[in-house]
């Protein structure tokens, strides 16, 4: 059975390593914060200027001066710090943030990502996504395997305007976990519970490497 959004987030959370600073994009990535494994210390960075971001405030305690990059009211944990946008993207470009998780419309078999613009539709802007994908050493894309029309979002090449080139390292979808090997394409690592390799093959338009037995995810 394909994963729901929370399932995708839960699987991505297994990638977290102790002492990592992590930037979570809007949407599914935000949910990753709900599944941090026991015994792992993580600090969340939000590019609008906070390290040590905590959960949403208790009702009535929301503060207009304390939001995340999704413009949601948040809290700050002990040890948090606030800083300006230049410093924030400074730490992103200088690769002080160990993991970036973000959504995508398309990912290519060489790790290109498109997630900001659909020609002919209203364009809202790339926000911080281009800076994040150009700099992060470790980028995981969280998305559905196919779009609403049932077409694969894992492609030989992106058809939409790019956000970044050759930057995605791993993709977690409702169907699978895939690593990107720039020379070979999408390397299937895990299947969602009950999802068959055949199903994944059918829904992956880009080159797909299937080697040996592909285990089911453990959630």
């Amino acid at each position: 059975m394909a994963l729901d959004k929370n399932g995708i987030a839960q699987r991505i959370a297994q990638e977290l390593q102790d002492r990592w600073y992590v930037n979570l994009g809007i949407g599914i990535p935000t949910l990753v914060a709900n599944y941090i494994p026991e015994g792992i210390d993580i600090e969340f960075q939000s590019e609008n200027g906070i390290l040590g971001m905590g959960p949403f405030p208790w009702e009535g305690e929301e503060n207009a001066d304390l939001i995340n990059a999704g413009k949601q009211t948040i809290t700050a944990l002990p040890g948090a710090s606030f800083f300006d946008s230049a410093t924030s993207f400074g730490m992103i470009r200088a690769q002080k943030v160990q993991l970036t998780v973000l959504g995508a419309m398309e990912v290519s078999e060489t790790g290109d990502i498109a997630n900001w613009k659909i020609p002919g539709k209203m364009v809202k802007g790339m926000g911080g996504a281009m800076d994040l994908v150009a700099s992060a050493e470790n980028i995981i894309v969280a998305m559905q395997h196919t779009n609403r029309a049932g077409e694969s979002k894992l492609l030989p090449a992106c058809s939409l305007p790019l956000t970044g080139v050759g930057c995605v390292k791993k993709v977690v979808t409702d169907l699978a976990v895939l690593a990107i090997d720039p020379l070979r394409g999408f390397v299937l690592l895990e299947r969602a519970p009950g999802v068959s390799v055949e199903d994944i093959v059918a829904k992956t338009a880009g080159r797909l490497v299937v080697e040996g037995d592909i285990p089911e995810m453990k959630l």
Binding site: P57, I74, S85
Partner: protein, 233 residues
């Protein structure tokens, strides 16, 4: 000490004119110079190029200047949720230049630090890089970006003093410090204006040298865009 206090927002925007380039601090509606926006609107100057991470919402923030068609061009990273903006953009009335957020921040910082140009990896291989110089450093491609040039910068701080020193609060800091550094004329509005000597000189986020005019805002609405909360048990 050099006095920077002006009586109010109206006095603070003295000298603004049609076709100027103006920076506005803030991220979404957080930390925006509400009083200066109102004063710019009241002055009725037209043809503005506005550098701001976002473009406000209908009826608030920079949305107020869009409503009155004072803005010719927006330079932003994300132009969010704004019907009037969308209408003007699609009809061709409004020009929009979209820039990666980190590049936007760094181009402001560069202006305020006397750095005319710098290399950044952001946007390489995308349409943002079109027409820009590409150079590799440590094997990685970067593009050349230039400092902004702004006639006025409008910023909002939590506290300020007569010497123009500014302190921000929480994530309302965002673009305000670099824009304060970048403006040819920088106007700061603060929630609390105190005499010189009352702020800890170690805690100043923007030294007064960057601020030309400062005033205590008459009113701050501080609207919340996405009120997300945990319900109490």
């Amino acid at each position: 000490m050099i006095q920077k206090v002006v009586p109010n927002a109206e006095a603070a925007v003295e000298g603004i004119a049609d076709d100027m380039t103006m920076m506005f601090g803030g991220f979404g509606l957080c930390g925006i110079p509400e009083n200066a926006i109102a004063a710019v609107r009241a002055k009725g100057v037209k043809g503005l190029t506005c550098i701001s991470n976002n473009a406000g919402v209908d009826g608030f923030g920079l949305g107020l200047l869009l409503e009155t068609r004072q803005v010719k061009k927006m330079i932003s990273s994300y132009v969010g949720e704004n019907d009037e903006f969308e209408r003007q953009m699609l009809s061709g009335e409004l020009e929009v230049e979209l820039i990666p957020q980190g590049t936007l921040a760094e181009r402001c910082r560069a202006a305020g630090a006397g750095i005319p140009a710098f290399f950044t990896p952001a946007g390489f291989g995308t349409e943002v890089a079109e027409g820009k110089e590409v150079r590799h450093f440590n094997g990685k491609p970067h593009i050349l970006e230039h400092a902004f040039d702004a006639d006025f910068a409008f910023v909002k701080a939590w506290k300020g003093d007569e010497a123009g020193n500014l302190i921000f609060k929480g994530t309302a800091r965002n673009f305000n410090p670099m824009m304060a550094m970048a403006g040819k004329i920088t106007v700061a509005e603060v929630e609390e204006l105190v005499p010189a000597g009352q702020l800890d000189p170690n805690a100043i986020h923007v030294p007064g040298i960057f601020v030309h005019r400062i005033f205590e805002g008459a009113h701050f609405e501080k609207r919340i865009e996405q009120r997300t909360v945990r319900p109490r048990a």
